[in-house]
């Protein structure tokens, strides 16, 4: 099992780069959405980056993930092309899903990214299915279901967890507890408030960790992956975190204390935490991280520019990829 203390300079830089890229992607979307050029509604992942990256840095392209409506971070962390994602969000023909899916449905099977999902609780059963495939192939790979605190109230999630235990499949449930499901607090909607405890109730180990700490996520995931590959079955990781924006872009957030986000941006910033840790243990130089920050801005600039210039789908695309026509 690889733990974060064993990560070399290159791997740490990669992790930081992924987190920074997600942050930049989302912060930029926040700006671009305000211009009205991006269709539909979009849920930003900013603030939660360390969870997607800590989890996916333990995975390869042959491992599977299943994502949620708030999926951009999971996609980037799993290696989806940022340019293709941006085009998808703009509804372009060259988007990762040819503009058919949009922000809530980005998928890339070649990266083991089995799809973002706009149905809360829709993903975990699918992840269990992929885990059955992994088990049949000798538990060399694992399947991860991302979900929020709100999703943990959905029966489909309970069913998936229990089935994963019963079938002893290499599934890992990652519950990102950001305190809210839409406009309702987890303090109200999650009876007992203990997501990990629920998972334990189904008969699997569950860890509670600080979701703004890349190292903590990475290590917890390392333990879950090791267990899964050892044929010991599923695990759950509950990561406490916050989201920097509203539920969707345009959400007035009347349910949040006025200073909440500003405060948490200081105390719960995975990038800042990563830098502080690097400064302490001298694993990577601050200058290297600064260079990544600059590079991320350029990458996202290019992605947005290309997406804006890209062509929309045409009429024939409406009828493609559907099996039967009438």
């Amino acid at each position: 099992m690889t733990l974060s203390v064993n990560l070399g300079n290159a791997r740490l830089l990669r992790a930081y780069r992924q987190m920074r890229l997600i942050r930049e992607f989302e912060e930029r979307l926040h700006v671009e959405i305000a211009t009205g050029e991006i269709p539909g509604f979009t849920h930003l992942y900013a603030g939660q980056e360390a969870i997607a990256v800590g989890v996916c840095e333990q995975l390869t392209e042959s491992d599977y993930i299943v994502s949620t409506h708030r999926g951009h971070g999971h996609c980037i962390a799993k290696g989806c092309d940022v340019g293709g994602m941006m085009k998808e969000i703009y509804g372009r023909k060259d988007g990762l899903c040819h503009g058919k899916g949009g922000s809530m449905h980005i998928a890339d099977m070649t990266k083991g990214m089995l799809g973002a999902n706009a149905i809360v609780g829709g993903g975990p059963p699918i992840a269990v299915g992929a885990a059955i495939a992994c088990k049949l192939r000798g538990n060399r790979f694992v399947s991860v279901a991302f979900g929020g605190d709100g999703s943990a109230n959905q029966g489909t999630v309970f069913e998936a967890m229990n089935m994963a235990v019963v079938l002893r499949v290499p599934a890992i449930f990652v519950l990102e507890n950001n305190g809210y499901s839409e406009h309702t607090g987890a303090a109200y909607a999650v009876g007992s408030g203990d997501l990990a405890g629920r998972a334990r109730g189904f008969g699997m180990p569950a860890e509670c960790i600080d979701g703004a700490d890349f190292h903590a996520v990475y290590d917890a995931m390392g333990r879950a992956v090791a267990r899964a590959k050892n044929g010991e079955g599923p695990s759950t990781i509950e990561a406490t975190i916050t989201r920097y924006y509203g539920h969707f872009e345009g959400d007035p957030q009347n349910y949040r204390a006025k200073d909440e986000v500003a405060r948490l941006r200081v105390t719960m910033d995975c990038l800042k935490r990563f830098r502080e840790r690097a400064a302490l243990d001298h694993t990577v130089a601050q200058a290297e991280l600064d260079a990544i920050d600059v590079e991320a801005v350029a990458l996202i600039d290019a992605a947005v520019r290309d997406a804006k210039a890209a062509a929309p789908p045409v009429e024939a695309d409406l009828y493609s990829d559907v099996y039967i026509q009438y």
Binding site: K100, E182, G185, A187, Y188, A189, R256, P312
Partner: protein, 337 residues
Amino acid sequence: MPQLTMRDALNQALHQEMARDERIIVLGEDVSGGAGGTSGEREASGGIFGVTKGLLPKFGEGRVIDTPISESAIVGAAAGAALAGLRPVAEIMFADFVGVCMDQIYNQIAKFRYMFGGKSTCPVVIRMAMGAGMNMGPQHSQTIYSLLTAVPGLKIVIPSNAYDAKGLLIQAIRDDDPVIFFEHKALYPRKGEVPENAYTVAFGEASLVRQGEHVTVVAIARMVPFAERAIDALAKEGITCDLIDPRTTSPLDEETIIESVEGTGRLVIVDESPPRCGMASDIAAIVAQKAFHSLKRPIIQVTPPHTPIPFAPALERLYVPGPPRIEAAIRQALKDE
């Protein structure tokens, strides 16, 4: 008469009915919002589309219930509360999420009255926002009323304007049977004259939105204002149509449709649901059976293609039938070869 949006008309109906009958409860995700939040603002939402605004401050937490994300339990709890004497109005935020709670709708509430030998009623209303037009993608844009119209035991209501929305919702709440109440998202801002007082619009009575002599057009929900535009444009050329809005697809006012077809001999049906086993094909079948000899031309169905609903605006625009397609269909119905 005051002009209200469909959203406000629905909101007014809920306020008036809840004040009239204390057995009425409202339950769903974020129907008030703010519970467990950090701002202390208890009604932080009032429903994601604002339809349940102001209910919590007026009627309290006992009757205005924010639920966890648990659609099966929402509909099931509404069913149980109804059996126990309450009159629940449940909200499924988007009609697409019916996929999660289909059993409670299909096997439970729809069957109680019949299956229990008439010993129970199930006065549940399940409201849900539906429809394309806002680029919300394949899992947040469906209409699904055709699917649920196919279920015996359910009443299916689909208003197209503010006046009908209010009257139909009040009727739905007072009705002793389960009612699925569809609200087209793109129609929430549509304004119309709405009387201040409470009133009902009966189920199974279509509304004749336009009166004409050449073609019968049947349209549902957002297709009604689209058909109005097409018909009004054609009127300038002297082509006039009956425009029938069924308002409820179960029960369906067959009589009004058939009477009109007997007069015009030509029928265009405009439906935002997919073409197979949908309301358009259902109405076409009824007319073919009951008014075959009145038809001068084949029935024309204007529907989306048999595909999921695409996200990209460029595709969604093509997916949703609009006034130009409706106009073309009416012209085609008038061509006599």
